[in-house]
Amino acid sequence: MILTHINYFADLINYFSNTLGWGFGGKILGYVIIALIYMTFFSVAGLLLVYLERRVAAFFQLRLGPNRVGPWGLLQTIADALKLLTKELFGTDRKDNLLYHSAYYIVIIASLMALSAIPFSKGLVAFDVNIGVFFISAISSVGVLSILLGGWGSNNKYSMIGGMRSGLQMISYELSSGLAILTIVLMAGTLSMTGIVEQQRDMIFLLKGHIPALIAFIIFVIAGTAESNRTPFDLPEGEAELGAGYHTEYSGMGFAWFFLAEFINMFIISAVGVTLFFGGWLAPFGITDGLGPEWAWGLFWFFLKVFLMIFLLMWFRWTFPRLRIDQLLTLEWKYLLPIGLLNIIIMAVFVYFGLIL
């Protein structure tokens, strides 16, 4: 299938290097600008998500949440970030300095890389590869490395238990989320994120693939929650059991990076879910087609869908109790994985006989 590739980021680099004739230097400038855009997005989205989480949690818990700093308390998380920036960084005495400090760089790098492959709107994807889905799921498993390193390097038993739990959990649930993604890939016939979105022009995959797609979606949500370490799968943190788990010994910005990355991971999981199942940045039933620039409407629809998905994850978090480590594994290996495998076979049969809508 031939897709008309529009990519505004590529255009930008092209503009600097070729139109302005700055050559290699222009290319570098373009990359830097794109990187800055993504890093700004990383921090702003992270802070907004933290604010949103606190506000949503408050409404679930009969409270008001942050409402003092700025209008509706919107600047609360920025104030918190400033506070964390100015805090002293202190850790345990005998920490492994290299591992301890590299942990939060890895977590940022992994989240930013995964972010780069997500199509925010028509033509707004920094790293548009033909194996986008594959790339994201590969990169998101690098994130576990940071948690393991943080847990090990802190030289704290609670951190270590948290890190080990996290490794166990991430590696197990990677399988299920991968299978859920593959189910959709079977239907789409492409691994490219933009390709998958374009395929859903007529109907979103959740409806197109009906039963197998719905099962895949449920599996994806469960596995995604587990991968982003959120309740009911927040065992690596498990504040009632482990204090704060793997980031117990981090203070100031070290902690803040983990914290932001956790929320960005949630965003990535939701974004992937939206792209795979709900047609990404496409307007539902094409209701805004031709009303204005497609990329602007795309951004709107994309973020609306992602917000709804994130809200679902938050709803989970503020309702459910936490699982135990053995139950976590039972859920994965005895329920999600067999069902996922069966589901992929069913989907293959459906696709082969053209039973999908």
Partner: protein
């Protein structure tokens, strides 16, 4: 060729120590448990107490009998009124005073309200311990209503010092009955919701069922009391065994579950809240009107002898054991606190479970650390 055999008995992982507490979210205060762990499996538990030890028993030896009462507030602060009542009853028993009926009824209603408040707090924290954070605020909303009732009548929300030897400090506030009658239907309405939210939840059920088993024999031998013992099928409600205050006039069920696991203890407390509402409902409409204070001397001196009064606090069997030598100060006061004995049960139950289960078990034992340390 050399045969390599692997003897599984030789495969050993290194055991290590983990300090749980004194500052740990799950120990609800300053309890310190020294855990021996193998991976995440708890091999041994050794409690280390005393981080909030104020030597109340020693202090009592230097205080007058009236002055003991405010100290007991600070033991098990969640059932402060029942503690006050225990000391007041022990002193009344020694002096052989008959308190007015009104006092008895007021004490019983207050005691049951305290019990509900304590169980509600426990329910909220129980949810937190297993990871459901929202339960805490829901429980606090309802508990706040009880606290308001308490504050209106006793002048304090938690440490009421409401009972005195021979009576109570203040008469009931005119709003008391109205507020209690508002509270009863409210709690009746929300508890089924809470059951849907937490009790019925499949994750919660899996976390609770069959975890932390305590057999009936062990429960007795370990000195467990209150909901912990009743969850194991031990008939141990002092309100039934030796009714005090107005409890002999009301009709209520002793909640007993025989499974002996976390879920049984959980259900005992949930049902007990409703049963306490029953008790209050029976008493609230006809509070007799015959004064709030029996005649006592300004300086109370107990006759020579030993006096034991047992009451059922929210945590279990509280015993106040006063040895008097006839002077104005007691010779020896012992508070047999339920939490201290229940801690024995934790040592026994926690072995062989994962840390997460240990936290859940600790939660169902419902510790209040000042009650353990005294």
């Amino acid at each position: 060729m050399e045969q390599v055999t692997l003897n599984t008995a030789d495969l050993k992982s290194q055991e290590y120590f983990l300090n749980m507490g004194p500052q740990h979210p799950a120990t609800h205060g300053v309890l310190r448990l020294i855990l021996t762990l193998d991976g995440e499996v708890v091999k041994n538990i050794e409690p280390d107490l005393g981080y909030i030890h104020r030597s109340i028993e020693k202090q009592c030896e230097y205080e007058g009998y009236k002055q003991i009462i405010h100290l007991t507030d600070r033991m098990d602060y969640l059932s402060a009124h029942i503690n006050n009542e225990a000391v007041a009853l022990a002193i009344e028993q020694a002096l052989e005073i008959e308190v007015p009926e009104r006092v008895k009824v007021i004490r019983t209603i207050m005691g049951e309200l305290t019990r509900i408040a304590s169980h509600l707090l426990w329910w909220g924290v129980m949810g937190m311990d297993v990871g459901a954070l929202t339960t805490f605020m829901y429980a606090f909303r309802d508990r706040e209503m009880i606290n308001d009732i308490m504050e209106e009548t006793c002048g304090a929300r938690l440490t009421m010092s409401y009972s005195t030897p021979g009576g109570v400090m203040f008469d009931l506030h005119p709003n008391f009955q109205k507020r209690v009658k508002e509270f009863i239907p409210h709690l009746r309405k929300v508890i089924p919701k809470y059951d849907e939210l937490l009790t019925g939840n499949v994750i919660f059920q899996k976390r609770m069922k069959g975890v932390g088993y305590l057999s009936k024999e062990d429960a007795i031998s370990l000195g467990a009391s209150g909901p912990v013992a009743r969850g194991s099928g031990v008939h141990s409600d002092i309100r039934k065994i030796k009714p005090y205050s107005a409890l002999d006039k009301v009709d209520f069920k002793e909640i007993i579950y025989t499974e002996g696991d976390n879920l049984a203890r959980y259900k005992v407390r949930m049902d007990e809240m409703l049963e306490s509402l029953n008790i209050i409902e029976q008493l609230i409409d006809n509070i007799p009107d015959d004064g709030i204070q029996a005649k006592t001397k300004a300086l109370i001196k107990l006759p020579k002898g030993e006096f034991l009064q047992r009451v059922e606090t929210a945590r279990g069997d509280l015993g106040v054991y006063i040895v008097s030598d006839g002077k104005k100060n007691p010779y020896r006061v012992k508070f047999r606190s339920p939490g201290f004995s229940n801690l024995n049960a934790l040592i026994e139950m926690g072995k062989g479970h994962l840390i997460a289960d240990l936290v859940a078990i600790m939660s169902t034992l419902d510790f209040v650390v000042p009650d353990i340390d005294r």
